[in-house]
Symmetry: D2
Subunit: 134 residues, 4 copies
């Protein structure tokens, strides 16, 4: 299991007429957290794309416990549950600056060959790099 | 059970660098479908808001089966599973213009008093209106 | 000069904490209007892309006169100012369901060869098709 | 004149099917830059809202010179042109990590009393605070 904390500041654009962060934004926060987690491991999703790997999202599930607001400083605690084979599974907890848990969510991504647009296995170097941090 | 089909045209803005509709947009498509379903029943989410009711989203779960692309004409088949008491549960299936199932998802919303910002029951007139269409 | 009226329903997602449509959404409304205008002429932006033409936006200018709100039924009056050579210039006026003018804006797009990623001229068939409608 | 440099990492969600950052996102980058500039001055837009001041956008104009891509580290150079009276005018230049100028833009905001929803003057304390940094 690999866990990292990523901070994200809520943008005005992300609020809605209720005065809350619109519920569609959390998957984007998760995506930012994935990007930053990979960067901390010395690679990037961009590098995967350059190698001809895309990672479409296969499943999302989320629970909303408390609202986030404009200018909140969120912490996304992202956890890579296990080493990837053909899928990558991430768990997320989103906290505000008062340590309140606002949202939990799970995202499942597949590995896809960007040329053939077919499912494929995680690249060996990628799995080994993750393994080093486990 | 109440089911309606709502059509939505994919916007360029909704695509991403994979050339697909970004996965965050489906909850917005569901939201459009909820709005249009209520309109067909002779009311609107706006009317609920004017009565002091807000409906924050409590849970979302989605599966992505096939990608959508720019300018696709999507059909969101939205189903209200049962009469609401304190929550409203919707199921969704998203099809493209070739009848291919792209995405399925479930959304749970709560009723909230917009003044007190506390959970409340569905308004009586609202439940009765839905009942007429069941 | 070519003018068309395109209707767009405001989505909840497009509102912000002021209760207004967030100002970033108008360029998306313009984009929807461009798409629908081309469709009425018997072609599509998608068809251009399939021919290896992309149309990146070069300039945008907008004035905001009055706010739009959730569930407003907007009319985007889009005008193609002149036949395109290497650029396409559109003017827009956005009205709400009460006929109030909310926003005006201009968008300039370039033609780009999607393979070389360099500027190019408007395809001949495309200009001729527009000419027929002028 | 007041100038600050704000860094923003491009999110995957912000890309489009051309592989570029969609042109609608730049106004959001400007908005993030305004928020962070005010924070550096020891106040916040949130504080203005808490005092009953809203700042709707009145005008936007932008030029797009070069495309931004996923994971680019952008620098938004934001300039407050003059002390605000009833409007606030910001100029922006957006650079990528290679120092290339991608986009320039201007945003004009009004001060609005959030209760009466009418235009008002900039609060005295707010102008004085900006003056100290000029």
């Amino acid at each position: 299991m690999l866990t990292r904390d990523i901070q994200i500041r809520v943008r005005y654009k992300e609020t809605d007429a209720m005065g809350f962060v619109h519920h569609s934004n959390y998957v984007n926060y998760y995506e930012v957290a994935r990007t930053e987690m990979l960067r901390e491991f010395g690679t990037s999703y961009k590098e995967l794309e350059d190698e001809g790997i895309m990672m479409p999202v296969m499943e999302v599930s989320m629970k909303y416990l408390k609202a986030a607001h404009y200018d909140d400083l969120l912490t996304v605690r992202i956890t890579l549950v296990q080493l990837p084979l053909v899928k990558m599974v991430f768990d997320h907890e989103v906290y505000n600056q008062n340590g309140e848990l606002l949202n939990t969510g799970k995202v499942v991504l597949a590995f896809m060959n960007s040329r053939t647009r077919r499912a494929c296995r995680a690249p060996k170097w990628f799995v080994e790099m993750l393994e080093k941090h486990m």
